[in-house]
Amino acid sequence: MIDIFAKHAGLREAYGALTATSPRNPFEVVIERPVSASVGIIEGRETLLFGTNNYLGLSQSKKAIKAAVETAETMGVGTTGSRIANGTFGLHRKLEARLAEFFRRKHCMVFSTGYQANLGTISALVNKDDILLLDADSHASIYDGAKLSGAQVIRFRHNDPVDLEKRLARLKDHPGAKLIVAEGIYSMTGNVAPLDKFVDIKTRHGAYLMADEAHSFGVMGANGRGVAEVQGCEDGIDFVVGTFSKSLGTVGGYCVTNHDGVDLMRLCSRPYMFTASLPPEIIAATMAALEDMQERPELRTKLQDNAARLHAGLQKAGLKTGEHVSPVVAVTLETVDQAVAFWNALLENGVYVNLSLPPATPDNRPLLRCSVMAAHSPEEIDRAVVVFGEVARHFGL
């Protein structure tokens, strides 16, 4: 009998080597419970959380919690069905209308996760006769959506408009539709995409543009509509995809657009059709969090201030960070062993960040991915920077 797990031998070896040298398994960290948005109990200790996506701290929004409780009590805890069968409640339609209004778009589709929003949008928009042009550093959900679509996939260099244009020019005689996919903020590095330049290129080459604003929705722009709002190019973005699981603190995803053809996506997007819809209490909490976000623009200002504080602090401590100031600040290290040891020392000193390892990182180098929240106090950020500096000195970095 063939060992069905034999194909994972390489992974088992890499995983074994990693966990053998680490006092704890970096992939099995348990946050026993959150004490607040910025502090959680890990290994029995209060730990500063600098590795979440809870940018505005709204996972602890009082308004969202109240809405979830009231809705669960009146409507139950699940829909037990797909959006195209018994899984569309009035609340789902209401959330879609609210999001369309927020983004100033004609249409919105809500998906059960952000991952499915990318899968469901990409796989419904293009097929084997079309071309997808993906930023090389795209999230796994974008690559998986591409695979599900069957479209021909061409990567362009990360954040590089010149490279994108060169590749589009090579496709000038290709008869299929062309869809460019880029992210607003890249989740691993915090890099911000030049969406305005991509809009200019897609217009000249007759392509469509989809922006995944998962990490920039609620975070960037005067109204929180993301990088496209900051760069003044929203009209040129055909499809905006994002998630509720970051700035809104819940779970779920969306696609908004002005293209009327999107209505038929509800009947051909498999990740939309063949899964249970979001439970009503999650929809209610998401709508309340969206209101909270709109009523408190100061959260975004605080977030930007905190991002600048952490970025400057880590740079001053001599650590290698990216150039973009965004709520994701990644410290790049040279070797996996170094990164694992550094990450453990941070946790033992009360700071939790994400350990990101190749091949999930660009450049084949490990990252300590930090993310800031509006809920962090200046003292918490300064404390994290001090711990980073001490650990770096300890390891002679």
Binding site: I131, A136, Q152, I154, R155, R157, R170, P359, N364
Partner: protein, 84 residues
């Protein structure tokens, strides 16, 4: 301009040898994943470098059938011919 499969294969080998981590004894029959220890991301990134050399774009699905350096050279050559 590079125009034959042999030329493209030689150019790929030259590019690969510029990386000190690549074994010195590679040839056109070397397997990219097994012999060069490239993971899927490394393969995609390397192909991106080669694409610029001969001005073609390789769709990702084509990479699934490529095992050796000569396979890659053949694929690039076919794309270049189709593009001409």
């Amino acid at each position: 301009m590079t125009d034959s499969v042999t030329d493209i294969s030689a150019m790929i080998i030259e590019k690969l040898l510029a990386n000190p981590k690549v074994p010195r004894d590679i040839d056109g029959n070397s397997k990219i994943v097994e012999d060069l220890a490239f993971d899927s991301l490394a393969v995609m990134n390397f192909v991106m470098e080669i694409e610029d050399e001969i001005d073609v774009s390789v769709p990702l699905d084509k990479l699934a059938d490529i095992r050796t350096i000569n396979d890659l050279a053949g694929c690039l050559h076919a794309l270049k011919v189709a593009q001409a």
